[in-house]
C-alpha cells in the first residue's frame, strides 16, 4: 500500500497552481530546541509579537493555549475549567495517543497537492491537535501561536482540529516571527472536521516579514448542520503568500463562511482565495473579502463557489481598494453550478478611494488625510468577524498603525 510519504516524494517538485514557485531548498531546516515554559515566561520581544497576532500570555482569558517556536512545542495547556471540554496537544502526541487520528491525517488536504504539502509530510515539524468534545460549548477562545525565531528557517506544521457533534468553539491562531527574522518559509497544513451540529470559528492572523514566504494549505469538512467560520487577516508586508482554503459542506444544511481582510504593503505578492463546495441539501456558503493594495503590492483575490447539490445557496463578495498606481489588485470570482436549484452569486468591486467620499468627510471638518484614513479603516471593518471585543480592539489598533504608515 503506498504511504503518504511515497506520494509526497513524487510531488516534491510539483509547483503550486498559483503563486510564485519557490525553491524550498533555499531555507534552513536546522535550529535549536526550545525548552518548554509558560507563555508569560517567554522573552518580552516574543511576547509582544505574539500579542499582536491575538495570542495572550494571561492564561485565564483563553480556554486553552498552544505555543510552538520554530520546531519546538514549548507550551500546551487547557485551563482547568475547560479540562473536560477540550483537548489541546502537539499533533505528534495526539497521533501517538489516538490510533483513530490517522483517519483524519491528509484526508481533506491532499499530500501530493503540490511541493509544499509534500514538504510538510517529508519534513514535518509538529503543529497542534485541538478537539472540542461532544456537546461542549467553549465560551472563551482557544489560542495557538506558531512562532519563528530563526532567520531563513523553513517551518512545516500540520494541524488537526476536530469539533465533535454539538460542540462550539472559537480558535485564534497567530503566526508570526521574531523581529530579527527577515526570510523564511512557513507551510501550515490545517484540516478541520466540523461534525454534526458543531460550530467552529477559526480566526487566523498572519504577521510576517518583508522577505518571508508563506504557503498555508487548509480544508474543512462540515457535516449535517455544522457551521465553519474562517476569519483571515494579514496586514504586514511579506515576500509572497499563496493559499486557497476549501470548505466542503458535506452534510445537510452545512454552512461555511470565509472572511478575509488583507492589507498588502511594500512589495508583497499575495494570492489568496476561498472555496466553498456545496455538496448536500440546504448547504449555504459565503465568501467575503476586503483587500487593500498599497505601495507595489500585487494581490490576487480569488473565490470559488461550487454548487453540487440542489437547494443550495452561496454568495461571494470581493471588494478591493487600491492606494497606489504601482499596486495591482486582481479579483477572480468563480461560480460553478452542477445542479439546477443551486443559487450562486458574486459581486466584485475594485477601485481607488472615492473622491466623493473624501470630500463628503471633508465637509464634516476632516482633513483630506484624516478622511482617507477613516475610509480605509472603515473598509477593513473587523466588526463583521464577530470577534471577542478585546481582540477586535487589538486588531483595530494594528489596522490603525498600518493605515497611518501607508497613507
Amino acid at each position: 500500500m503506498p504511504t503518504s510519504k511515497d506520494a509526497a516524494l513524487r510531488a516534491i517538485n510539483k509547483p503550486a497552481e498559483y503563486g510564485p514557485d519557490l525553491d524550498v531548498s533555499q531555507y534552513a531546516r536546522e535550529t535549536k530546541n526550545w525548552e518548554p515554559c509558560p507563555i508569560s515566561s517567554l522573552p518580552r520581544d516574543i511576547l509582544e509579537r505574539s500579542i499582536e497576532v491575538g495570542v495572550l500570555p494571561e492564561h485565564e482569558s483563553r480556554a486553552a493555549s498552544f505555543f510552538q517556536i520554530d520546531h519546538s512545542v514549548i507550551y500546551r495547556a487547557v485551563q482547568s475549567f475547560f479540562e473536560d471540554k477540550v483537548e489541546i496537544m502537539s499533533v505528534k502526541e495526539a497521533l501517538a495517543k489516538y490510533d483513530w487520528l490517522k483517519d483524519y491525517w491528509w484526508r481533506i488536504v491532499k499530500v501530493d497537492m503540490d511541493k509544499y504539502t509534500a514538504l510538510a509530510e517529508i519534513a514535518w515539524d509538529q503543529g497542534y491537535f485541538i478537539r472540542i468534545l461532544e456537546d461542549q460549548k467553549v465560551t472563551i477562545p482557544l489560542q495557538a501561536c506558531l512562532f519563528i525565531a530563526t532567520d531563513n528557517l523553513n517551518q512545516n506544521v500540520h494541524n488537526i482540529i476536530i469539533a465533535e457533534p454539538g460542540s462550539e468553539a472559537h480558535i485564534i491562531t497567530g503566526c508570526t516571527l521574531h523581529s530579527s527574522v527577515q526570510r523564511g518559509l512557513h507551510v501550515g497544513i490545517a484540516e478541520f472536521y466540523i461534525k454534526q451540529g458543531a460550530k467552529l470559528t477559526f480566526t487566523m492572523i498572519h504577521n510576517w516579514a518583508q522577505n518571508f514566504d508563506s504557503r498555508p494549505r487548509s480544508a474543512a469538512l462540515i457535516e449535517d448542520n455544522g457551521v465553519f467560520v474562517s476569519n483571515y487577516m494579514c496586514f504586514k508586508p511579506l515576500k509572497s503568500l499563496q493559499m486557497y482554503p476549501v470548505a466542503y459542506c458535506k452534510g445537510r444544511d452545512a454552512r461555511a463562511r470565509f472572511n478575509t481582510i488583507i492589507y498588502g504593503v511594500g512589495g508583497s505578492y499575495i494570492d489568496v482565495g476561498s472555496k466553498i463546495a456545496l455538496q448536500n441539501e440546504g448547504c449555504r456558503g459565503e465568501v467575503i473579502s476586503r483587500v487593500i493594495a498599497a505601495d507595489r503590492a500585487q494581490i490576487y483575490a480569488r473565490g470559488f463557489l461550487q454548487g453540487e447539490h440542489s437547494n443550495t445557496k452561496a454568495h461571494l463578495e470581493c471588494r478591493g481598494l487600491i492606494l497606489s498606481d504601482d499596486a495591482v489588485i486582481h479579483a477572480v470570482p468563480e461560480l460553478m453550478a452542477k445542479a439546477q436549484s443551486t443559487e450562486l452569486s458574486h459581486e466584485a468591486a475594485v477601485g481607488k478611494i472615492s473622491e466623493e467620499q473624501i470630500q463628503y468627510l471633508m465637509a464634516r471638518g476632516f482633513s483630506r488625510s484624516e478622511a482617507e484614513a477613516l475610509i480605509v479603516r472603515g473598509f477593513m471593518d473587523v466588526s463583521i468577524f464577530g470577534l471577542p471585543k478585546d481582540l477586535e480592539m487589538e486588531i483595530q489598533r494594528m489596522i490603525d498603525i498600518t493605515t497611518k504608515r501607508a497613507l
Binding site: M362, I375, R377, G378, D381
Partner: protein
C-alpha cells in the same frame, strides 16, 4: 452698514468644461435666511458646491467672501471649520464609517450629541450604522440635519431638506430647522418651497440656467412660480438682462 456673512461676487463656475454658473452675485447679511429656487439643472446645487469648495466645481472667475475673508482658494475642510454647516441632498454611503464616528468628530460631547439625536427623533442604534448605507430618504435628511446641528456652524446650507420626506418626518425636520435658524444665517435650496411652511425666510432668489433671474420676498416669488411655473422667470430673463426685483 449690515455685515454680510456670505458674499458671492461675479462667480462663474464650470463642471467638466461646461459652464454651470455665470456671473453670480449674492449677498447674505448676517442673521438672514435666503432661499434658492430654480428648476432642475438650473445650477442650485452647483452654487452650494462652489461655495463649499468642491474641486469638481471649478471657479472660472469671481470670489467667495465668508465672514469678510476670501475663501475662494481654501479646501473644503477649512471653509467648514470657519463655520459653514451643510446638509447634502444625496450624500454618499461609506462602508465601515459609522455615523457615530462622524458625529463624534463634529461634537465630542456625548451628552449633547444624544440630546440632538432625541431632537431629530433618531434612534441611538443609527450611530452604529455605516453612514448613509441603506438609509431611507427620510433617514438621510435626519442624519444630515443631525450633522449640521452637531457641527453648529453659524452659516447653514441646506440642499433640498424637504424632498423625499414623508409628512410626519417633514413636520419633525421643519420644526428642528426652524429652531436652528433663529440664531443662524442660511442658504436653503428648495425645489417646491414646502420648507417655507415651517420657516421664515428673508429673501428668495431664482436661479435659471446658471444665472440669478430674480430676487425678492420668498412667499411672493413662490406664489408666482406655483401659479405660472418657471416659464415666468424665463420670460423675465428675456425682457431684462438685469435681475428683476418684485
Amino acid at each position: 452698514m449690515v455685515e454680510n456673512i456670505l458674499e458671492v461676487r461675479n462667480l462663474s463656475v464650470e463642471v467638466s468644461g461646461r459652464r454651470v454658473l455665470s456671473n453670480i452675485d449674492l449677498e447674505i447679511p448676517k442673521g438672514e435666511v435666503h432661499v434658492l429656487f430654480g428648476p432642475n439643472g438650473s445650477g442650485k446645487s452647483s452654487l452650494i458646491m462652489a461655495i463649499l469648495g468642491f474641486p469638481a466645481y471649478r471657479i472660472v472667475s469671481g470670489r467667495i467672501i465668508f465672514k469678510g475673508k476670501d475663501i475662494t482658494d481654501l479646501p473644503i475642510d477649512e471653509r467648514v471649520k470657519m463655520g459653514i454647516s451643510v446638509a447634502f441632498q444625496n450624500p454618499p454611503a461609506i462602508r465601515g464609517v459609522k455615523l457615530g464616528e462622524v458625529l463624534k468628530h463634529l461634537l465630542p460631547n456625548e451628552k449633547k450629541a444624544n440630546d440632538l439625536l432625541k431632537k431629530v427623533k433618531f434612534p441611538q442604534i443609527f450611530l452604529e450604522r455605516d453612514i448613509n448605507l441603506g438609509f431611507s430618504g427620510g433617514e438621510i435628511k435626519k442624519s444630515e440635519i443631525l450633522q449640521v446641528l452637531a457641527h453648529g456652524g453659524d452659516f447653514v446650507i441646506l440642499d433640498e431638506p424637504d424632498s423625499g420626506v414623508d409628512v410626519e418626518n417633514l413636520r419633525i425636520l421643519g420644526g428642528v430647522i426652524n429652531d436652528m435658524l433663529h440664531e443662524r444665517s442660511a442658504l436653503i435650496i428648495t425645489h417646491l418651497g414646502i420648507i417655507l411652511q415651517y420657516i421664515n425666510a428673508d429673501v428668495a432668489h431664482v436661479l435659471m440656467n446658471g444665472v440669478i433671474a430674480c430676487s425678492g420676498p420668498p412667499t411672493k416669488i413662490l406664489g408666482q412660480i406655483l401659479n405660472e411655473g418657471y416659464a415666468w422667470c424665463e420670460k423675465c430673463l428675456q425682457v431684462k438682462t438685469q435681475r428683476c426685483e418684485l
